[in-house]
């Protein structure tokens, strides 16, 4: 039951998938995200980022001074129509 529990709601990535991937590849949070797509969905990882962080195997000291899962613009989804300054 806990195994099938969803961690990333947007991409429906389960606890099992994340735990196994972290274990198999000894992943950093970033690698874990890229391998599973957890945190790469519609919300931009706002909901699951802390959990993906915790499940990552590689908890180095760098974590203290660097946000492990980088934020990239745009931080909110943009409609293509709104991109080039066009009328929405």
């Amino acid at each position: 039951m806990t195994e099938d529990m969803i961690i990333c709601r947007c991409e429906e990535v389960t606890y099992k998938e994340l735990a196994e991937t972290a274990n198999k590849y000894n992943c950093s949070a970033r690698e874990l995200k890229l391998r599973t797509r957890a945190g790469m969905g519609y919300c931009g990882g706002r909901t699951c980022r802390n959990m993906v962080d915790k499940l990552a195997a590689d908890l180095t000291d760098e974590r203290q001074t660097q946000i492990t899962l980088k934020y990239q613009p745009p931080i909110r989804p943009i409609h293509f129509g709104d991109l080039g300054g066009g009328q929405s």
Binding site: R9, C10, E12, V13, E17, E20, T21, K24, R35, T36, R37, Y42, C43, R46, T47, P77, H79, S88
Partner: protein, 112 residues
Amino acid sequence: MTQRIVDHPILGSIEEKEQVSFTFNEKEYYGMNGEPIAAALLANGVRTLRHHEEKATPRGIYCNIGHCFECRVTVDGKQGVRSCLTPLQEGMVIESGGTLPTPVKDWSAKNE
């Protein structure tokens, strides 16, 4: 059946607001002008706002303040609108998102 908290011991009674009509998945509902779409739907007993694009699991509001995007709906043809922070207006045509016709490739480790 109304889910509205009309009277409140500290906050008092709800302000009278103009009622507006709107449709959600082609069914007509009434809500308060300017309240969030999600609140208007919940007041009508509607919790399910969309189904997951791939796995079709039902979803409703989660964070209710715009962070999680779980409550996104299509409003007057515009997709990906967060119903928790979009004010309701008269005549809005709101549709629920469903599964996409062509699922995206599953890139997860098990398919490598």
